[in-house]
Subunit: 245 residues, 3 copies
């Protein structure tokens, strides 16, 4: 059972974030809120997202799984303004989801979740962590897009650097400790990533969002942030690209 109301912009942000990884997703609902885990088809990026019931305007649910096509929800949300309230009802007998905004009601069949298993989120103990404004990451990503399709991220004991190079062209964004919100690094680590995943993810984060980043040398990068007035949490994991030598 699900009978909830949510602000359009909160649902939009959720759909955008998860949509960078998959088009179809299984969402787990229970009385406390929703959670989902998804991995992209190439098994390079993973998202682990929760949204507590307080992130909704009203919320009533039993434990259930919903298989959703995110593109259809995104199209529906285009009919709404940011502060419109979206009503969501799970019609169990018809196995479909009903969404409503103002005087418009859309009904969509749910996907079969039988083959949609929750991916295992690897437990990683990463040596470095820092906090950084979304704006900085966005600038670094945009600069790198001019140069190459991969980026390296380096964290030292006193700063953070995004670097990209190809055919003798190079671009670098350097932030000192004072330009970061927090930096805990006892060693220098560096990892290389495919730019497209990174770029899609960073572009759906607002400029003022503070991102928690954990890294190790040639380890996956973990990016965490809150949304929906801290009632929602996103953990994003991106595998490193092994450098050819």
């Amino acid at each position: 059972m699900l009978n909830a109301e949510i602000k359009s912009d909160v649902l939009k942000e959720l759909v955008e974030i998860v949509g960078t990884i998959v088009d179809e997703v299984k969402i787990n609902m229970d009385e406390d809120g929703l959670s989902l885990k998804a991995v992209d088809p190439a098994h390079v990026a993973m998202v682990d997202l929760t949204l507590k019931s307080d992130g909704f305007e009203s919320y009533e649910a039993n434990e259930t799984e919903l298989g959703l096509n995110l593109n259809k929800i995104e199209q529906f949300l285009k009919l709404s303004g940011p502060s419109d309230i979206i009503k969501i009802v799970h019609e169990e007998e018809e196995n479909r989801l009903t969404m409503n905004v103002r005087n418009i009601t859309q009904k969509m069949p749910l996907l079969d979740t039988a083959g949609m298993t929750d991916p295992n989120v690897p437990s990683l103990d990463l040596p470095i962590n820092l906090r950084i404004k979304g704006e900085h990451l966005l600038n670094g990503v945009k600069a790198s897009e001019n140069i190459s399709d991969h980026i390296s991220i380096t964290v030292t004991t006193d700063g953070f650097e995004i670097f990209s190079e190809e055919d003798e062209n190079e671009v670098e964004m350097s932030l000192g400790e004072d330009e970061l919100e927090e930096l805990n690094a006892n060693e220098e680590v560096r990892s290389l990533f495919a730019l497209d995943y990174f770029s899609d993810m960073v572009k759906c984060v607002s400029k003022d969002t503070i991102l928690d980043i954990e890294m190790g040398a040639d380890y996956p990068i973990k990016i965490q942030f809150d949304f929906a007035d801290d009632n929602g949490n996103v953990r994003y994991l991106l595998a490193p690209r092994i450098e050819s030598t």
Copy 2:
């Protein structure tokens, strides 16, 4: 003879409305104003438009027919701002139209109107009529575009509904009597229409325009509205699509 001045935004609206039906049109001028009737190449939609001389800034004309290419006029209008005054002169000897805005003058040859006959507007006595804000129709059309390429419109004794479905996905916009400007219906009627014509037409109407709609069950829908400070009138007729059973 034609020697007239008209506000750019009035002429733009006229060209947009008629342009949803045809690219080339015969306009009939006389001393009281202009009128035109046009039917689309597939004979599905028809427009019947009049603009009285008071809708012009200045107007002087004898009875004459002008064959116009609407795309050329639309391009010329892009050179003007909404409140610019467009001067229009029919140069009879050269058989061309001269349009002027500020210090720019464009001359275009007129089309041969010999083969352009005025279509017969069918006289329909439709049982239901209602008045509705353009905004509502626009929202219903946008929602339907996500789902299918046709829409059904249902009018009951107490409301108005746009419905669209395909592959188990459905969308519906429902308006109660209090959300309509007026509703005169003694029975329930329902007709199915191709969405593309409907959509093009609705998108060139402003949100605040009040539309007069007349309908019958599986009959053409008639949509009427005024423009140019009520000096212009548009009657739009769209044939129903017969439902396959």
Copy 3:
């Protein structure tokens, strides 16, 4: 040696103007500022541009030549806002240019200037000159784009006219002496030009910029204007198109 700072919007304007002619260019630097001359691959249009050291926020240079790819600089400038300061350093040993804005630094290899000779700017003594607002030229060019791919420009003793025609469609923009900033013409001259070059050039000039134009009958047109608070100067030369008779 080059070590300079320049406002992003000044450098953007320079790159846009020269970019209408060539993608790769040789820039000559000395202690007083920069200068460049470029001709398009078809040898139809030429630009001769100077920017004095006062057009920079800070400037230090010895005589040197830099071979630049304008597309790469344009992409870098997209990372900056109009009033951001761009730092530019020529790293002589590595033969590359370093550009910096905020905390982003891009390094790009310089092009070999061996084959890039300065074109000879023909010395022309043109009988007619006038001064005109960029806005007027822009309007004339936009109107002509609806009609044809070439324009004729006529200057008479009391006005200026842009004219374009094709397939019996004509458009004309006429300016009287009072709509020009200045007009010195003892005779009537007329030349025909390819619209695309003209159009690209005019579109990167702001509406309020005053353009100095020199013309002769079937001679190249010379368009001059200042930028960067009059510290920069552009001379643009476009060859006439010979009319087929």
